[in-house]
Amino acid sequence: MSFALRDKVMLLVAVLLAAIYLFPLYWMYVTAIKTGSAMFASPPSFWPSDPQWGIYGFVWESRNVGRYLWNSLVIASGAVSLIVVLGTGCAYVLARYRNVWVDIGLFLILMLQVLPASLMITPIFVGFSQLGLLDYPRFAVILSIAAKSMPFFVVLVRATFMSVPMELEEAALVDGNSRFGAFFHIVLPLARNGILVSAILIFMQAFGEFVYSKSMIQAIEYQPASVGLNSFMGPNTNEWNNIMAYAAMYVTPILAIFVLLQRRIVSGLTSGALK
């Protein structure tokens, strides 16, 4: 078998595998534009014969998707800002030094990264209700997400800072910069891309967050899209085309970011988990 033919066969198999893997995503988009009867047809049709594009406008209005997405956006942006402001400096210090304290700090941060949100929510909820923080439910959720995701961000950004040569910073110090100046004018600009990709990763996670929002936000006008989707799916629901349309509107912006930044996101993810 020639190499060109082998490549073509492998590529074909790979495309087939990817298609099988991504079928659930396709099924979401197809179901969303089916009519009520086509949805429950047996055998199901894998291609919508009579696409109902109007369903997006209908669900957007009737389920108030705009408000839900806005709340998700507020919560995710708040959490990411807090994480970037606090986590960047922490990652920098942990990358710059090599001693037993740094090792202990890293170990603690890695341990914090693994605590499941559904187990931490009980003490956080009780503590927040005693402090009165639950009166500002979105802020309470932002704080909890920040604490949950910051360790991951620190690990990712630390890997970025490790790749910035220390000589550059030392040269800036010799030239009369203060540590403060060297950090903001030399190190941060060099690490900008890594920080940006990590922030986007954290943003996508926070945009889909569910446990904290579900538990702490009672008022429907402050709930994010994940909680809205959950209350849309009752136990005996049969409006699957509407639910899939909702899900499609929720997930498409994230998918767009992912496709645009795929290469960077993949490399960012792998460096965080194994290095």
Partner: protein
């Protein structure tokens, strides 16, 4: 005062300032709740004493009550089944895909990256899609299984107690495949090609090369990935909320969902805290394994 300011802008104080604020934040938001969780598991907590710190201590009563509940052992068993089945499925399929893409062909790295879409999707969306795919009468999975001839009648994935846990396992395997595959690919690409060339010259076939080179060289990566899989599987909550909500009759309930259910559905915060404490101990053990297996890399 001037000296302190100078230290903050241009000395040791700069580093300490940068690191102490986030660590204080993390301690307040993760360390304190952890301690508070343990304290609550030894207290009597109900809706009336929720707002006060002065709650009666009851010793190990919560733990004793917990283990006398009829659903406790089935739920712990479910948790074990969920974790083992999910990791086995994710790892096997992920490893097979990683090996396939590792052979290298035009477009392989781009197509491989496409799989990670599942990782960035909100858990609730993944759960909603699978809820619909797994639907009993109209689900597309039942249709495919019937057409292939694997089953004769419809399986009621979400409402049959024999299948409800497996419904979530299937969705969780789908979700985890991509992550396993990408991390295993990183490990595979780190193996030197010289080893394979040498083995090939010595006459080792593909299977022999896999077992004598690939697997031994991947040992620490595999350890780290399985530990990570354990951590992520024990964090899985959204799929339960979206597909079965632990039902029917706790047949698909697992400890991490149960802990939340206790606190926020049955308002028994003390029991919820008790389950959390037990599960956090398990997670901690898994994470120590993970940190140990990546330690040489963490230290660089």
């Amino acid at each position: 005062m001037r000296k302190l300011l100078l230290s903050v802008s241009d000395g040791r104080g700069f580093d300490i300032g940068l690191v102490s604020v986030p660590l204080a934040f993390l301690f307040a938001m993760a360390g304190l709740p952890l301690i508070y969780n343990i304290v609550m598991s030894f207290q009597e907590v109900d809706m009336f004493s929720l707002g006060t710190f002065a709650r009666p201590f009851v010793g190990f009563k919560n733990y004793i009550t917990l283990f006398s509940l009829p659903e406790t052992w089935p739920i712990l068993r479910n948790t074990a089944v969920f974790v083992i089945a999910s990791i086995a499925g994710q790892f096997t399929i992920g490893f097979a895909l990683a090996l396939f893409f590792w052979t290298g062909f035009p477009g392989s790295s781009w197509l491989r990256g496409l799989f990670l879409v599942s990782w960035v999707m909100p858990g609730l969306v993944v759960g909603a899609i699978w809820n619909w795919i797994l639907s009993g009468d109209f689900g597309v999975l039942n249709y495919i299984l019937r057409e292939v001839g694997l089953v004769s009648g419809n399986i009621f994935w979400r409402s049959d107690p024999d299948f409800s846990l497996w419904a979530v396992v299937i969705a969780n395997i789908w979700l985890g495949i991509s992550f396993n595959m990408i991390l295993l690919s990183v490990g595979l690409s780190a193996i030197s090609q010289d080893l394979y060339e040498a083995a090939e010259l010595d006459g080792a076939n593909v299977v022999q090369r896999f077992f004598t080179i690939t697997l031994p060289m991947m040992r620490s990566t595999i350890g780290a990935i399985i530990a990570l899989g354990l951590i992520f599987t024990l964090q899985q909550f959204d799929l339960f909320a979206a597909i079965t909500a632990g039902g029917p009759n706790n047949s698909s309930n697992v400890a991490q969902y149960w802990a939340w259910d206790m606190s926020f559905r049955q308002y028994d915060f003390a029991q919820g805290a008790t389950i959390s404490v037990i599960m956090i101990v398990f997670v901690m053990i898994a994470s120590v394994v993970y940190v140990r297996s990546t330690r040489h890399e963490v230290r660089g």
